[in-house]
Symmetry: C2
Subunit: 431 residues, 2 copies
C-alpha cells in the first residue's frame, strides 16, 4: 500500500524532527555556494540559527531573479565534479534558470517519483507510457527514472506523434500514461478517430496529469473519455521536477513530501504566513538536495493547505490543486483575489461560456470589481431568468472572494478573444 | 587509464572462457522466449551444444524480419514484470522492432557506455552535452545513463535548436559533445556565425560521432573546425544502443566489447565466416542481456576485423569503421563488392568531385564494372593529365576490389543528382 511506509506514515512529531535536522544540514551545505554564502552571511545565519521548523522564517527568500543573477552555477554548493546532471529552463527572456544535481539528488528524485506512482497503484506489472518531452524538460527524465525505479515497463514515447502514441498504447498494452491535461484529451480524440474506444479496447487505467492548470470538471471529463482514474501531479524544475506533491487514490488534494521539502504558504504581499486552509503563495525549501539546495524558494504558485487528515493514512500534508500564479493576484479593498478563484465559480454554471473579463475601476472614492461573462450557446434571452442567474453567480462569487462583484452577462462572442494567454484582468484604477 | 582494467585488458584465453560461459547462459535464458524456444527447439539446441565459441555456428541466425514477425514481445525471455524499459524503432514500414530491457540490462548498458567515454578521456570533471534525440532514440538515454555513471556533468540538450546548443556550450563550459557528423559540422558553422571560434573561445576537446557513416577525411575536417579529437561510436538499438564498439585514443578502429557481444564477420551470400581482415557482415550475439538475448543477429552492417594488437593495451578486437550495409553489396565475377569500398578510394583524389555512378553490364559473355565519376570544379582539361589520373584511379580501385573497372572521368554536373539517398549502383545485367 505504501512504497516507503516508514516515511509516508511517519508521525508528525518525528517528521518535524527530521525536517529540523535536514534543514540545518541544507544550510550547512548551502553556505558553500557563492549566493548563500553572501545572503546568509550578511544576516549571520548558520545552521545554529535553527532549532524549530518555524525558525526558517529567519532566512531570506530565494527567487527566480536570484537564480538568473547567479547564472549558471552561483548556487551550486559542491565541487562541480560531484554534479552529474543539469536541467535548464528555455530562458526565452534573459538568462535561463539552471538546476544542478548530484548522484544523490537524482537517486532521491527517482525515489520520490516512484513513491508517487506507487501511491496511485502503479506496480512493476504496469506498462507506463510517458508523453512528456525528454531532454531538458524534467517531466521526461524525471518520470523515466522514477518509473524504472518502481520496476514498471517504461515506454519513453516522448512528446508528439499521436498516431504512434496510439499504436504504443494498443500494441504494448499500456496501463498508465503521463500527459498534460490538454494532450490527454487530444489522445482520447485520436483513439476514437482510429476506431479504438479507450474504455473497452485498451488496458488504460491510470493517468498522471500535471504541468497545466485544470479544473475538477476537466479531470472528470478526461476520466470518462479514457476510462481511467486521473491523478494530479505537482512539480517544478527548481524543485528537481515532478515528485514534489501528488494525489493519492482519494483524489482529495496532493500530498507534499515533507521529508524532502519544507513548505510554507505566505501572503505574497506581506510575505507573512497565511492561516492553514487559506490561499497563498507556496514557498519551498529543499531538505534533501546536496548539489544545489534552495532555501525558501518563492514558487509564485498559489495554493492552500488542506486541513485535516487524509483517510489514506499518509501524514504528509496535502495542498490543493494550483490556483494560478501569485503574479496574477490583485487586491481590492484589502482582499487578495486570484483570477482562478473567480474562474472556478464561473465554470460551475452550465449556462455560461468560458470567456470572461475582470475589471477593477475607481468609481467615486471606491474600487469596484466588475465581472463580464459570456453566456453559453443555447441559453435563453428571458430577462427574468437572466436576472435570476446573475443573482446566483454574484452570491456564489461573494462566498468565494468575500466581496460583492458587479456581474454582467453578455452575448457569446462579445468579449475580446485571445489566441495566446487570455487577458482576464483589467486594472483601471488610479494609482 | 581503463574504466574496468580487469575486463578491458583481459587475456584472450580468459575472454574466450567467459564468452563460452555467457553464451551458454544466454541460450538457457533465450529458450524461455517463444521465438527461440521454437527455432532452437527445432534444431535440438541447448546450452549443452556449446563447448567453444566456434560452436556458435550451430545456432540459426536471427534477423530483423524475425523481430517483426514476433512483434512486440515474442523474443522476451523473462516475466514482463522484470522488464523496465523498451525501445522501439519508428517502424515507418511494417511493424517496428522492439527491444526490452531488465534493470540488469540497463545497468550493463550504462556501464559499457561509461567504459567507452572513459576510454577517450572523459572524466567526472567533464561537461558532456548530448545532442541526440531522447525518448525512443537510444542515443539519448543511452549516453545519458552512461555519462551519469561516469560522473560527468551531463547536459541533456537533446536534438535541434542550434543557438541554444551554442549557448549551452559557452555558458556551461561544455568539454565533450555527442553528435552525428553532419550535426557536428552544422554546430561549428553556427558557432562561427555567432562570432565564437570553437578552437579558442570554448572548452570543447572531445567529440563523439556515430550513427551516420562518414569518412576519415570528414573526421579530420570536423576535428580541425571544432579543435577537438573526434571518436567513432558504434551501436544499434537491437544491441541496446551505443556502447557496442568505440575508438580508443589511437583512433585506429573501434574496440568491440567482447565480454558483452560475440562477434562474427560473415559473407552475406554464403553465410560462412570470412578470414580476419576481410570485409563482411557483422553478426552479433548478446552475452550479457537478460530480458531479451539476441543470438547471431545479422546487423547488415559491413565491416572487417582489424588484425593485430592495439597499442592501448585493450585486448578486445577492433572493427573498422562501417563500410555500408550488406543489402548494398553486389557480386561481379564472383567478387563481393560494396559501394563504400569504391567511394573510399574516389574520395582520396582531390581532383574528383563527390558524385559517381557504378554500372554493371553484360557485354558479350562478360559482366563489366564501369565507374563514372565527376571531376572537381577547378581541374584541368589537359588530355594527358586526365589520362594519367584515370590510370591512377583504376590502379587504386583494383587494389581495393581485386577487379579492374572501366573508369570514366566526366564533367561536373553531368551525372544524375539526387535529393535524398543517392542511387550509386545500376545493375543492367541479364539475369
Amino acid at each position: 500500500m505504501y512504497y516507503q511506509p516508514e516515511i509516508e506514515t511517519i508521525k508528525r512529531s518525528e517528521l518535524q524532527k527530521l525536517q529540523v535536522e535536514r534543514l540545518k544540514r541544507s544550510i550547512d551545505i548551502a553556505l558553500h555556494s557563492p549566493f548563500y554564502a553572501k545572503i546568509l552571511g550578511e544576516k549571520g545565519i548558520t545552521s545554529d540559527s535553527i532549532s524549530t521548523v518555524e525558525d526558517i522564517r529567519k532566512l531570506p527568500f530565494t527567487t527566480k531573479a536570484d537564480l538568473r543573477e547567479y547564472y549558471p552555477f552561483g548556487l551550486v554548493a559542491t565541487d562541480m565534479k560531484n554534479v552529474v546532471r543539469l536541467h535548464s529552463s528555455s530562458g526565452t527572456t534573459g538568462n535561463p534558470t539552471v538546476i544542478c544535481h548530484s548522484q544523490h539528488d537524482l537517486d532521491q528524485w527517482a525515489n520520490r517519483v516512484a513513491r508517487c506512482m506507487y501511491m496511485v497503484g502503479i506496480r512493476n506489472t504496469d506498462v507506463f507510457q510517458n508523453t512528456s518531452g525528454y531532454g531538458m524538460f524534467t517531466g521526461g527524465l524525471g518520470f523515466q527514472y522514477g518509473a524504472e525505479r518502481l520496476g514498471a515497463l517504461t515506454v519513453p514515447a516522448a512528446a508528439g506523434n499521436s498516431l504512434r502514441q496510439v499504436k504504443f498504447i494498443t500494441d504494448f498494452g499500456t496501463t498508465a500514461i503521463h500527459a498534460i491535461p490538454s494532450y490527454a484529451t487530444r489522445l482520447a480524440e485520436v483513439l476514437f478517430e482510429c476506431g479504438i474506444d479507450p474504455r473497452k479496447d485498451t488496458k488504460l487505467k491510470t493517468l498522471i496529469i500535471g504541468a497545466e492548470p485544470h479544473t475538477e470538471e476537466q479531470r472528470k471529463r478526461i476520466e470518462e473519455l479514457l476510462g481511467v482514474k486521473a491523478y494530479n501531479s505537482f512539480g517544478m524544475s527548481e524543485m528537481s521536477g515532478p515528485g514534489v506533491a501528488f494525489e493519492c487514490t482519494y483524489q482529495n488534494g496532493l500530498h507534499l513530501w515533507e521529508d524532502c521539502f519544507l513548505m510554507e504558504i505566505i501572503d505574497p504581499e506581506t510575505l507573512e504566513p497565511v492561516p492553514d486552509g487559506e490561499i497563498g503563495e507556496l514557498v519551498l525549501t529543499t531538505l534533501d538536495r546536496d548539489a544545489m539546495p534552495l532555501l525558501r524558494y518563492r514558487t509564485r504558485d498559489l495554493t492552500r493547505i488542506i486541513p485535516g487528515e487524509c483517510p489514506c493514512g499518509r501524514t504528509h500534508r496535502r495542498i490543493d490543486r494550483l490556483k494560478g500564479r501569485s503574479d496574477d493576484m490583485f487586491i481590492v479593498k484589502g482582499v487578495n483575489i486570484f483570477p482562478m478563484q473567480i474562474e472556478k465559480i464561473l465554470l460551475q454554471f452550465k449556462e455560461l461560456g468560458t470567456n470572461y473579463l475582470i475589471t477593477i475601476e475607481t468609481i467615486g472614492n471606491n474600487d469596484e470589481l466588475m465581472i463580464d461573462v459570456e453566456l453559453g450557446e443555447l441559453f435563453t434571452d428571458d430577462y427574468s431568468q437572466l436576472q435570476q442567474l446573475t443573482k446566483e453567480i454574484t452570491h456564489r462569487l461573494k462566498d468565494e472572494i468575500l466581496l460583492t462583484p458587479k456581474v454582467k452577462l453578455v452575448d457569446r462572442g462579445s468579449l475580446p478573444q485571445s489566441d495566446g494567454k487570455a487577458v482576464r484582468v483589467k486594472d483601471l484604477r488610479k494609482k
